[in-house]
Amino acid sequence: MISNLAVGIGLRQPHYGEVFERRPALGFLEVHSENFFLDGGASMHVLERARAAYPVSLHGVGLSLGSVDALAERHLAKLQRLVERIEPDLVSEHLSWGGVGGRHFNDLLPLPATREALELMSARVDRVQSVLKRPILIENVSAYVAYGASEMSEFALLAELARRTGCGLLLDLNNLYVNAVNLGLDPLAALNELTPAMIGEMHLAGHTGTDAGLVDTHGTRVCADVWSLYETACRQLGPHPTLIEWDTDLPALDVLLDEADIAASVAARSELADA
């Protein structure tokens, strides 16, 4: 069981050696599930070492739950095998689709927030939870476009999904912020849709400004506005296991650990304010 004050980092290949050598005091490590859809070998060996030393979170990016194509049962079977092998503390996926008609874009594409999408996602999350025999967390994604057909907010859909399926939510504050800026949404209204019991994890990451809007690159430090949103979320929804997520232009491990320290102090402060 990961403490609500736990802060973790994404474990990425260039840091493997240093993490095991230094064993930094971290609440958990998170990896992309698909990177370990392997039968054996050096990567699996690393993940098993990580599991022996830290709680582990398996974060899926390829299940494409919201695709109208049939659910990728072979992908789900690989995830099930990995979950059985690693016995992670957390398993998560996204409110998104990755492709249709057999084609995969290997991206987290946003869904229109419609009742039809809610029905589809509910059925898919039910199926995944019954195969994995455990609740999963579903994350809000960054979006560069909005759908005219949406009938509710993304967070109203997520909250209803959690009520229907018993899944938890992975609240990504950077995605929330990126969407607020790109699509002109109110991030505080989004938080108001949620209850503390729904949240199983939070993500913090950096984005990159472009002339077409903010792009969710996971390649920079967390910006001041996202820290402030994180603090608000911690006060309003309580602290929850929090991840520093960094995927491109990976910096020295110490930069991630520094970000993790900041998150830990924000989370601790929110708890004190609560008491």
């Binding site: 699996m44 390829g62 008609g101 874009f105 594409l109 560069y144 699509l183």
Partner: protein
Amino acid sequence: MPDLLACEHDIASALGDARESARAARWLAGDAALNERRLAIYRANAAAATTKALSAAYPVIEQVLGPSAFAILAREHQRLAPSTSGDLNELGAALADVVAAHEMGQSLPYLADLARLEWAAHRAYGAADALPFDARAIAQLPAQQQSTIRFVWAAGTALVASRFPIVRIWRIHQAGFDGEFSVDWSTGEVALIAREGLRVAVHAVDGGDAAFIAASLAGEPVGAAAEQALANDAGFDLGRLLTWLITTNVICGYTSEWEP
């Protein structure tokens, strides 16, 4: 009632081909010109995901071509063999064929075989760990039975034959290689790709060894595989080959259906 099926198909068409952008536009809210630039972010993400996955599987091809030519090859792969799985470990099986059909593969004709070697190494990297094998049991079998056994090979073991020196080319592009960079282009090589512990090893094997390994990997009993090796190379030395492959655990067991 909004139709998710039509929506996803339209968005996918627009992401696959910018000329189809109008199909996405009818589903999107907000400024059309801005939406078009935002769709381009998704197209770039998909292209980057393909390039990154291929780069992980084909580090030597990427070094040989350089990053910009490799990115062009990745676009060609995306066009001819687009990703069909959320598991990017599976992306890239078609690269050798994509290379062979492209002018890059025509001007550098060894590239396709080098790609086959790298794909085999990529598969071997994540293959199941071989269990330890005590080969002394084989020596204790009756002589007639010994020739009937079939070897179990470590998962991921593969042979790639080429009329080019692909093992040599592969080797001089490995990190930390500090030998001579010369390549003897007059000779072809057969690459044996196999997991040795957690490491993926690539060896050049000669004609007799290659014939034995190919036959044994295909399920032939030891005796028949050795006959094929001897037909290929009268000097074939089974004992030397087996000592090497058993010591490295590339041969990791055997099965026997022999009944006296």
